[in-house]
Every structure is written in structure tokens, then in C-alpha cells.
Amino acid sequence: MNPELVGRVFPPVAPYLVAREKVREFARAVFATSPLNHDPSAAMSAGYADVVAPPTFPVVVQEATLAQLLAEPDAGIDFTRVVHGDQRFTYSRPVVAGDELTATLAVTSIKSLGAHSMVTAESTIVDATGAHVVTAISTLVVRGDE
């Protein structure tokens, strides 16, 4: 893997509009049964603008940024050898339906561990006003020759 990727910031990906039905679909897929995830009136009486996305929902938004990294011509990452090592979401506020989210990827660290490499990529996700919503941090392990 190319160590010069560290510090590289990619162009923001196209804005992602969080739809109510997508939140519900994702919620069902992760066994989320809270009324806040499914019922707009429950979410609104709790003070949210619309249904609340489950905590790992930003992975859907982050995916396009990781695709940028894997497609980077000089990255030297063979995606068939990539294993997900760590994942973290650090929020300023919950994601709700109606949010228009824009993600920007930065490579923050590359380490070698024997034949393997570990790349940490941070996707900073902001809303339509530019305010921070959540940062999604992934560490990918790229397996070397064994």
C-alpha cells in the first residue's frame, strides 16, 4: 500500500438525502424496533424532526467514500484482500430522515503489521448547513501475501 496516502483528503461525495423509508428499511435489517426509528409521530413527540436513524446507519453514507479510496489509482489496495478491522461513529447529533448529508474522506493513518497493512479512513459527514453530524472512522486491514 502507498504510504503517501496519509493526509490525503478526497473530494466530497454527492449529497445523500436520508429518506424515511430507507431509515425504516435499515432499522428492520439491524433488528431495531424502537418507535423512534419507525414512527414519525413518536419521533416528533420526542423532539426529533422525523424518524431517527439507527446508530450504524451512516455506513450507508460512508460507503461511497470508501469506494473512492479503493478506486484511487495509486492507493495499491486490492479490495479482494480487504477485511474490516475497526469501525467507529462519533456523533454531534443523531441522523434523522430529511437530512441531506455530505461525506468527505481523509486517510489518517497507514500502518504495517507483518505482511498486512492497516489503513484508517475518516469520513466527516455534515448536513445541508455544513454543520457536523457524524464522523465515521474505518480501519481496513489489507492482507499481504502469506
Binding site: K22, E25, F26, R28, A29, V30, F31, A32, T33, S34, L36, A46, G47, V52, P54, P55, T56, V59, V60, E63, T80, V83, H84, G85, D86, Q87, R88, F89, T90, Y91, R93, P94, I137
Partner: protein, 133 residues
Amino acid sequence: MSIQVGDIVAEATYALTRDSLVRYAGASGDFNPIHYRDDVAVSVGLPGVLAHGMLTMGFAVQPVVDWLGDRGWVSDYQVRFTRPVVVDATTGASVTVLAKVGAVEDGAARIDLTVSFDESTVLGKAQVRVTLR
């Protein structure tokens, strides 16, 4: 919130099936065939079809979300993927989640998750920070 370090706030068991994996693939957009095709999983050296790590991360936090209700929200959530969850085509996979208070601060708490399959933990350093509203 009257909780103390060491308190168990939630426990749950999730019965995963291949249907769960297909549903998560569609909802998340992760269509890697190792999560639904035995032949592909075996060809890359895996013991079988695996649950998406992000699926396990996704449901493992739900007992905390349900315990919290509308009193607060998840402001930070991290995991390390340490072992795969193999989902058998006929019998599926049973994954248990134990959520225990790891730290208490003013208006916030850290909840530590123990997520187990086949008597081994599958997530490391699985920590949820909850912030009261």
C-alpha cells in the same frame, strides 16, 4: 440516570438466518457474496457464509438503544471485528449481547458490550457512549 459501573442494563439474543444477511445486504448496499454464497465463501478460505461485521455492529447496540428510549442518544459507538459469525444455511447463528455500564459521567455513560457467538466474543472493545438529552 441512576446507574453504577458494573450494572447490566440489557441482555438480548439475536437469531440470525441467511434471510437476515440478504435483508442487511439490501438495506446497506453491501453485496459482497461472502455474505450469501457458500461457494464464494469457501473459495476465499472462509469457514462458511459470514454475517456482515456491520450487521453484528448494527444489532449489538440495539439493546442499549431500547434501554435508553428517548432519555438520550448514542453519541459514540466503536467496535473491533475480532471473529467472524458463521451463519449456517439451515440452523443460522445465535448471537448474544450483554450490555454493562463501564463508566458514568455527568450526563453521559459508557456502556460496554460483550457480543458472543459459539461461546466466543466476536467484537472487541465494543463501547457505546450514551448522552442524556
